[in-house]
């Protein structure tokens, strides 16, 4: 079984299970929307959001929704003991990781497809003015966040207090991703966009993605072995 085929099969399994009930998709989406609304009620004064508010709120909603989705996805694996079955299969462990990672990225991207227009609408932010660059920022940020998140959630499946420990482990490590994502999105929301600055942040995000995915691939095997 090749690496790519294993990853594809894991991804397909996750998507199939998810599409049947859409449980995680709906709950994650609802949570993300409530998050955004919460921030809207808390921060908007006289109909105007604070400066750079839209960028920050978008990324916080992605981070919180992502944490929820990660927890729920691996909880599902734990309940049916499917993760142990997967690990016992004669497949490359890193390929299993990649399959799960792509599933999480797909879930988060679906959430972002709804969140971006919502934030643009609620905060009157011209988020959709540079769709290519916004997609680049969102995709590279999501990959970085999901790479670390998938690894840590998989690690925590058999741990105690796993619900509390996931944010404890995940948030400090993904701070650079969130900062870069927010600054890049904020730069795109400026009236006259400085594309070189956006390019810089996207380059940083891509470098972070490479580092995180490499580290995760390298450590997935020993971390999942007892």
């Amino acid at each position: 079984m090749t690496f790519g085929r294993t990853a594809w099969l894991v991804l397909r399994k996750d998507l199939t299970v998810e599409v049947r009930s859409l449980e995680i998709a709906y709950t994650t989406l609802f949570f993300a929307i409530s998050c955004v609304l919460f921030f809207a009620f808390a921060l908007v004064k006289e109909g105007k959001a604070p400066e750079d508010g839209a960028a920050g709120i978008l990324w916080i909603a992605i981070a919180f929704a992502g944490t929820l989705a990660l927890g729920r996805t691996f909880e599902r694996e734990r309940q049916s003991e499917t993760l142990r079955a997967l690990l016992m299969a004669p497949a490359a462990r890193p390929a299993i990781y990649v399959g799960k990672l792509l599933g999480i990225i797909a879930l988060l991207s679906a959430a972002e497809l709804v969140l971006v227009p919502l934030v643009a609408f609620l905060f009157q932010a011209p988020l959709l003015s540079h769709p290519f660059w916004l997609s680049a920022v969102l995709i590279s940020g999501t990959v970085g966040f999901s790479a670390v998140g998938t690894l840590f959630s998989a690690m925590l499946v058999r741990a105690r207090s796993r619900d509390v420990l996931l944010p404890v482990l995940l948030y400090p490590i993904t701070v650079p991703v969130i900062i870069a994502g927010v600054r890049a999105t904020a730069a795109l929301l400026e009236p006259d966009v400085e594309l070189s600055l956006v390019r810089f942040w996207v380059a940083l995000l891509l470098a972070l993605d490479v580092v995180f995915v490499t580290l995760a691939l390298w450590t997935f095997e020993p971390l999942m072995t007892d």
């Binding site: 925590l156 105690r160 207090s161 404890v168 948030y171 400090p172 701070v175 650079p176 450590t219 971390l223």
Partner: protein, 218 residues
């Protein structure tokens, strides 16, 4: 405890006792005056903070890939020291900044990434304490990611527009300031080695206790 521990501890204590004299002797800095003297403990603590994070990361990697319990004990000890020296940096820094920059804290890249590295070390300790069985491996994985942050912390101040002094400050120090600084660095380095050895000793004793409990159960 090894033979060298007591003599080295004595030497370290003597050096620390001598350091205030060297620091007082160093020239004042032109724009910051007296408060700049915090530098002579702030910078060595910062270097030991980063060094400790690296030691933790390397020990964690060796523990993950070779399974050596000695490396796990070393990683745990180094993580605790990262929290200790990180706390020193994050308290002495703002005390200096209050006078030098007029604010206690600034969200510039050096401060933010240092704070983040410190939180990763805290998270390591939390996982070890409350993670249950298998938490040693989880924490090791976390430490590896935390170690990836260290070069970023060090180099960030040279590439971003930030209020924190650049790394070019150190090589260009005049002689008396340089002497005070490097003497303090030597003090802190010795202290780090001593504390690490002491903390590893505690872990070894704990392991011995666990082995005793296990043999009692049989």
């Amino acid at each position: 405890m090894p033979n060298w521990f007591i003599p080295i501890a004595g030497l370290c204590a003597a050096m620390f006792a001598a350091s205030p004299f060297l620091i007082a002797n160093a020239d004042y800095e032109s724009t910051m005056g007296l408060v700049q003297k915090i530098f002579y403990y702030h910078l060595p603590s910062a270097w030991i903070f980063l060094l400790s994070a690296i030691v933790c990361g390397i020990a964690s990697a060796r523990f993950l890939f070779r399974g050596s319990p000695r490396q796990d004990r070393l990683a745990y000890a180094a993580a605790e020291l990262t929290v200790l020296f990180g706390a020193i940096v994050l308290v002495t820094g703002p005390l200096w900044a209050r006078k030098a920059w007029g604010v206690w804290w600034q969200w510039d890249v050096r401060l933010t990434s240092s704070l983040m590295g410190w939180m990763v070390a805290w998270a390591y300790l939390l996982v070890r304490k409350y993670g249950g069985p298998g938490s040693d491996k989880l924490a090791a994985g976390l430490a590896l990611f935390g170690m990836a942050n260290v070069p970023f912390v060090y180099v960030s101040v040279n590439y971003w527009r930030t209020i924190h002094p650049a790394t070019t400050v150190v090589p260009t120090l005049p002689v008396d300031m340089g002497m005070a600084l490097w003497f303090s660095v030597a003090c802190f380095l010795l202290l780090f080695v001593l504390l690490l050895r002491l903390r590893v000793h505690l872990e070894e004793q704990r392991a011995r206790l666990d082995a005793l409990y296990l043999s009692l159960d049989e």
